[in-house]
Symmetry: C2
Subunit: 148 residues, 2 copies
DNA sequence: GAACAATAATTGTATATACAAATATATGTT
DNA sequence: AACATATATTTGTATATACAATTATTGTTC
């Protein structure tokens, strides 16, 4: 982790700036590892998250607004994101019969099976990324993250 | 910060997964604040970083490979990224006279002036993002980040 | 010094993401 | 019922990013 990589001045970098830059570099690193891990499944991190949200519904359908609300990114993507999962046969979509504006999304059997495999790969990625942090340090990190 | 937002299961989320998800949500939050802050200047975070790297050169030119090496993202973008800064008049580009494969990039007067304003806005953004963290907590965070 | 490899940057293409506008359906008001 | 308003999703467009292929120049080797 080389913070000096981005900013290199004669002056020392203030603690706050250093923290933010550090965070950004770390993000790039983590994101790369996770993308690599998801590559064999041909899904993006976002698509993976949608599948996880759908599984969390325990069989209940989720409409696009619900998915969008739970996700980090914005609405306009959700339609196209689900389109891609649909193409792979990981989800099923149906217009809500009581309110035809709504679209109900459910995860398919295939989606669930693939997701289980992704889970295992994800666990490996997490272990790699966090291998140098102890249980106590991870807890510290979560406490600090909660303050943001 | 709501980790349950992405994964919602009957089981408790393991500490490592929780940490990664937490991190991702935090990234989205921070990234949004920084983008908002940069919006008036019509530059992306990447473009801002290029300008900071160039300033760090203290007048010396940087070629595209150097910029790329210092940045988080990949080469292919660097050309187009610099193109945009060029359009705004923030940088100057010139073929290296001794090695005509290389392109030398320098920051312009205008670029420097704008960058100073961005610095101020960035400082405000950092203060907002990190307002709930004490000096000690920031130091803790940096120590933990270094372990990744 | 011709042929090949290495380096530096650019371009093409596909996909991802952000923002705004448009469409379709439902609800509330007079 | 006609109208405006709200809700849910989709589409268009511009920009961002990733990966591979291409071009231009330089360096190396026989």
């Amino acid at each position: 982790m080389d913070v000096e990589k981005i900013i290199k001045t004669e002056k020392e970098i203030p603690l706050k700036s250093r923290t933010i830059i550090h965070f950004m570099l770390l993000y790039a690193k983590i994101n790369e590892k996770i993308s690599t891990m998801l590559k064999p499944f041909e899904v993006s991190l976002q698509q993976f998250n949608v599948l996880r949200i759908l599984r969390g519904q325990n069989g209940k359908a989720a409409n696009l607004s619900t998915l969008n609300e739970r996700m980090v990114t914005k609405m306009s993507n959700t339609t196209r994101l689900v389109d891609k999962l649909l193409l792979k046969g990981y989800v099923h979509r149906q217009t809500c019969p009581t309110n035809r504006r709504k679209i109900e999304i459910t995860i398919t059997e295939l989606g669930n099976r693939q997701l289980e495999q992704m889970d295992r790969a994800m666990k490996d990625a997490e272990d790699t990324i966090l291998q140098n942090l102890s249980h106590k340090e991870l807890e510290q990190l979560n406490v600090l993250f909660n303050k943001f």
